[in-house]
Symmetry: D3
Subunit: 227 residues, 6 copies
């Protein structure tokens, strides 16, 4: 096998995936250092779609899906195909045949920086797909690419095995080694936000406690001044 295809890599653990999957991507992004989310052009085919799992990475040239076919046959249950399709919208790289295969093989989702097709079918199948819109045009199937090398997808570097979490807001990538360390902070963040929203709904603390200090630090309020 050509060195452009890498078969073995370490995946973020199923336990970490399971725990991460209950959080909103936004909560995890906050505790991951406010970075790591794909460009907003990559959105779920249907807003209810969610996914979590290790990245199985694919790089193709614009308009060809040969490597995605290979990847579907190589990926393991629970994997998420993360595909650098060069943000091309002039043709679709996946449709209902391939997404049905992904579902049947128990993959956990697809994140693709390119267009898909059969979008109504995809909503019905219910398998989570995040993409850059739809186009009826089909791909070619014979151009070489790479599998499980680090890629850029939606402006973010993704390594095979990284944790991928996606929901209605978009997709987050967390380095495999860092994923486990975020879970506790994520729970705390979620609890804090829930409490904060509850307070706001009761009309309490509508002005954040840190606000005046931050405005002072930014030079917008003078010492001692409040908003």
């Amino acid at each position: 096998m050509n060195s452009d295809i890498i078969k073995d890599f370490e995946r973020v653990s199923p336990e970490v995936v399971k725990q991460a999957s209950v959080f909103a991507a936004s909560i995890l992004a906050d505790v991951a250092g406010r970075r790591g989310t794909l460009d907003g052009r990559i959105q779920p085919v249907s807003p209810a779609m969610r996914l979590a799992g290790p990245a199985f990475t694919i790089e193709v040239r614009a308009g060809d899906n040969l490597m995605i076919h290979a990847a579907i046959s190589m990926a393991k249950p629970g994997d998420i195909l993360v595909i650098d399709g060069k943000a091309d919208r002039t043709c679709a790289l996946m449709g209902s045949i391939m997404i049905n295969a992904c579902k049947q093989l128990k993959l956990a989702g697809v994140v693709i920086d390119a267009a898909i097709r059969d979008s109504l079918d995809l909503r019905e199948i219910g398998f989570p797909v995040f993409a850059v819109g739809a186009n009826p045009n089909g791909p070619t199937k014979f151009v070489p690419g790479r599998i499980n090398w680090p890629i850029s997808c939606g402006g973010i570097a993704v390594a095979p095995g990284d944790l991928i979490v996606g929901d209605a807001d978009g997709v987050l990538v967390v380095e495999r080694e860092k994923a486990a360390s975020l879970l506790e902070a994520a729970q705390k963040k979620e609890d804090d936000e829930t409490a904060r929203i509850a307070a706001i709904k009761q009309g309490k603390d509508l002005k954040p406690k840190w606000l005046d200090a931050s405005l002072r630090a930014a030079g917008l309020l003078k010492e001692g001044e409040t908003l």
Copy 2:
């Protein structure tokens, strides 16, 4: 308080807002001289959302929402936050905490030239938010900006106090001083359009009466010729 924050400004009157709120943004845009609507990238989080009110303007640097927190604490019930977020989609500047606070404080809506997050929650809250898509990534909270200076949002100049009207088609800005003068023409325009559509549905006047004359004026038909 630093001169970058302006507290007091004149708002379009509640009476004008109330009367304007019953019209489609498109009707008002027509009588406002066929100008003043934000770029189509700024869309409602849910198509049913509508808003009308005076602009409370905010300019931030890409990726930071300190000034939006300040603005929420400063705005008055009925105000619409209009935010120049530099069209950045690499992170969200607002989410469910801030939007809940806006609702609790009885603001009338948010128009933001940047991304938001917690988009499913935002649909549920029902508070009208118009934005450039979603991203799970969070903002920083410490970079200075400006409040209630004239801004550019979606390619249109907006002054504090201007009338903002938004619906499924997008957002219109009308200068405060001109807003009242449009209402009568808007009503007439709406009546005319309703009558025109009723006629069309009955198969009458399918060809506009002005068409041949306009084609002649444009040099497409000769004198006396009809389509």
Copy 3:
């Protein structure tokens, strides 16, 4: 009449339109040589919208719809207005009045490389419209353009009379002379895909039979090697 307006042209036959209309745009695009679909920026106003028919082509300057008014009065039942609006999103070129007229005149749809307005009304009317988003701003109505000359729309050349097919994935253009020859292949393609999906759902042939050979041809597998 100025030579910029062409009245007579040959249309793809109603029989071919009827037969083509039962296929997904993606199926037809595949058998048309994997080309001919408009850029993904042009999407249906509502995902359930579908259309099929001969192209009635219009070229306007950005922001003016005089020629579209002329076209509505000239087009025949079953025609699809295909409009090069220069991909402009700063104003709408069509709204509910014009779309009601199109429906009343039994046109078969509108494909426009520009924005529309009254988008909620358009969903209700149910007449198929494919466009580049919405904007409340209105057009001017007096700038000359051309009717039934070859145009570029969404990055694809369209001649008057060409077959247009659109669905939730987007819009396909097929040269008039080639349209009839695709129908048999389209049926075969659809049958094959249906069978393929049925097999996949039963867990059969999840790996495409051609895959190893293609990977070998692309230099990714050595002679005799399989994935």
Copy 4:
């Protein structure tokens, strides 16, 4: 030969090309009805480059130049290759080898809606190339496309044989049948503009004579009023 390749087509005459080549693209665009110029993303590799000749049209899929190689071997001296490269900037479709061949074969220029490479060499060779920037990445050479079908390039429909004129401002396309009829008007336009500029340089008629009337017609001046 597959029907995707068309060998024979009628070209705008060498005499018309010769006469057109002395005019600025802008002058010809004006008399051609203020339309027909490619999107501003397509610019000359060096501002001094100029070209004029009949279009030899090519459509490729993003990132592959097989059909351009075929086209170079098929085109006739004086032809201009006009290539729909789908506006892709992730790789170059032509470089110094191919451009040297074009020059040796006495083609008249290349207009490509995609990137090129070897840009410094191209400036030295001096053969006129108009493209969408540069990228060091190379193309594949095996994906089918079409030759001498109508294409869309830079948002404009181009038919084989059409007149192409390019200079520092960009590229104009004129339908073959219309080209000859523009030459006289172009000469008159150029003479008028030369006279107008000479007058302006002498401080005469700085305000256009038509201006007040046009402002009145547009409703900006009242009857009798002047600027």
Copy 5:
């Protein structure tokens, strides 16, 4: 005269313009609060072009220059035309005739959020023009717009009379009332930068003195730690 045209407005003083004109736009942008520069799409036609003066603002609909003709006849020597052309690149709004008139009338420059033409001539004329590229296509001359209302240009709000400063890096807008107050700080900033560069060239202070403290404040270094 229609209220869409405003004749009289207060300009930033010639003295302030003169003093501001010696600074780089970047120096002035720094002391103006690191804001107020137009989007990078607006660049000088030639990198040596510089301009400084009060804004004379114009808003047009995409593709029409009637209002620019009116503006040239209305502007005063030293004025800079700042034109919201809606970032359109499908046609040019100005060329050598109009720019020669601007020069003859002793205007100080043009900043236009749209394309120009006759770009080689414009470099020769030497009158400073900042634009979004070139296109040979011409404008129409009959669509109403506005003169000397606040506009958005390159994503920044501009009021008539504001200070405009442009050089090879791009264009800065400073509110008229604030302009005078920046000059002293600009001189200090320039002196500091000159001294800083001189030190660096001698190998002194290559690491900024503030760096460790800022990294500590940002949480990247621990208390007491240095880079």
Copy 6:
């Protein structure tokens, strides 16, 4: 030191850099598998600029350059700063002070997916800088980011230590481990291209020998047929 800053990493060897630096980026991209070049938006500040060296990677949030200051103090002679600036063009992240420091410290170049300023000075300094245009606006200097983590720059994943090569066509990234293995093939490729161009200039082999076979393989020529 916070784990967001990584100090030590393995660099592609100086010997490999030296040998690679004599090749055009396009030659190396070809033998690297026709991939790995940054998006065409990243161009040299002056076309004569060239660079080669190991990547020192930096990720910032849009509009802040704190981490770039840290990086300049940490990088070693010969390093190339490769900066993910989120493709933002609303402000510059580097100017003449920082580039003078880079030069003084004998860094080998800067590749930045963002804007720069002082562009005329930068051309004079002669230190190679590749960027996304210019903007006079300045950055903030206090937002945390990361140093020497894998980044995405111009749509390509870059790891610290990777080989970076840039010239007038743009920038190529080669994985550190693969760089040495490309040199021999690059020399052969260059020799072949030189010979090919020499032949073409003598009018030999203007039609590539492989062309007919490739057209046959692509289904465009029948068995036995030639172009």
